[in-house]
């Protein structure tokens, strides 16, 4: 009569058999804290929101009979008289990737119990995120004031360009802004020692959200700016 031999009660069995055991055994299915699982489920739902936005963009771009404005030219910048296509977007991409890197390291140091480095790296992540939002505000201003792009039309071609651009980048920018606030709040609580004894899963959960924001940008960069 040994219950210990029931291998399905731990989470070590690999592959399909392991997945069946995780679902079928008398235990919690997912090997993680509930907060982390709920963040994953939230991110899955957010994936659907952004996918529907991008699919909608694909649909109106396919069906537009007016020429689609060339994003390479629309988002070009003149720096000291040199014409550089997509420069600001490239910088924004690198800033967001860097913030993802610092976030990943923050999660690592949090699990090691190095509070000081965690707080510094999380703050740096939030700062880079804020820089991203600032550059996006600059980009929007330039587009609205100088290029005359509106959600209902623009001088360069298909009217759908403006509506999809403002909707998709606006929703993404809102996610970045929310992420900056989220990071700031959690970093402050880490600094105060709020999670001592509770464990530092919260930093990984915050990280999941932040990496997701970076992930969405990878798709927006490819489909809106490069396509």
């Amino acid at each position: 009569m040994t219950i210990e031999t029931d291998k399905s009660s731990d989470y070590t069995q690999p592959g399909m058999g392991g997945m069946v055991a995780d679902w079928a055994a008398d235990k919690q299915t997912f090997d993680m804290p509930w907060g982390k699982l709920m963040m994953w489920i939230f991110l899955l739902s957010d994936t659907f929101i952004f996918s529907v936005f991008l699919t909608g963009y694909m649909n109106v771009r396919l069906s537009a009979t007016d020429p689609w404005p060339n994003p390479s030219e629309v988002f070009a910048l003149e720096v000291f008289g040199v014409h550089l296509p997509l420069l600001l977007i490239a910088i924004m991409t690198f800033v967001l990737i860097t913030s993802s890197g610092t976030m990943a390291m923050a999660v690592n140091y949090a699990y090691r119990g190095d509070r000081k480095k965690t707080v510094v790296l999380m703050s740096l992540t939030a700062l880079l995120g804020a820089a991203f939002v600032g550059m996006q505000a600059f980009e929007w201003t330039k587009l609205i004031v100088e290029e005359g792009v509106r959600p209902w039309g623009n001088p360069m071609g298909a009217a759908q360009f403006g509506s999809t651009f403002f909707m998709i980048t606006g929703f993404h920018g809102m996610h970045v802004t929310a992420g900056v606030i989220y990071l700031t709040v959690i970093a402050r609580r880490v600094a105060r020692g709020h999670y001592e004894g509770k464990g530092y899963d919260i930093v990984e959960i915050t990280g999941l959200y932040w990496h997701f924001v970076d992930l969405v940008w990878v798709f927006i960069f490819a489909f809106f700016y490069l396509w």
């Binding site: 993802s100 976030m103 690592n108 090691r112 999941l208 990878v218 960069f221």
Partner: protein, 105 residues
């Protein structure tokens, strides 16, 4: 709760992925810089996009170290999105053609 207290990996792996993301972002930027067009442009954009997305999800979000149960919960619903993309691209082409036929422009 076997490895939830962990997700302990050497810092080096994050720096390497960071570097790779930089490289692939630069490559996708160069696609635009050299004004590659047509199927070459589209396939390169998609290739670099999926490589970058894969690195972020697998390493930064630690999905490659998670149980298969979670991978399937996240992966299977994506098939519905693929179906939506397929249907909407057919629909988009159809709308485009009907606009040409009925509005002659």
């Amino acid at each position: 709760m076997s490895d939830t207290a962990g997700q302990q990996h050497p810092i080096g792996i994050y720096l390497k992925v960071w570097l790779l993301l930089f490289v692939f972002s630069t490559l996708s930027y160069l696609v635009d810089w050299y004004q590659l067009q047509g199927y070459l442009r589209w396939s390169l954009i998609l290739l670099f996009m999926f490589i970058k997305a894969g690195f972020i999800v697998a390493i930064f979000m630690h999905l490659s170290w998670e149980r298969l149960a979670l991978k399937y919960v996240l992966g299977l619903p994506i098939l519905a999105i693929c179906l939506l993309i397929l249907m909407m691209s057919i629909e988009g082409d159809y709308t485009y053609l009907t606009r040409h036929i009925f509005f002659d422009r």
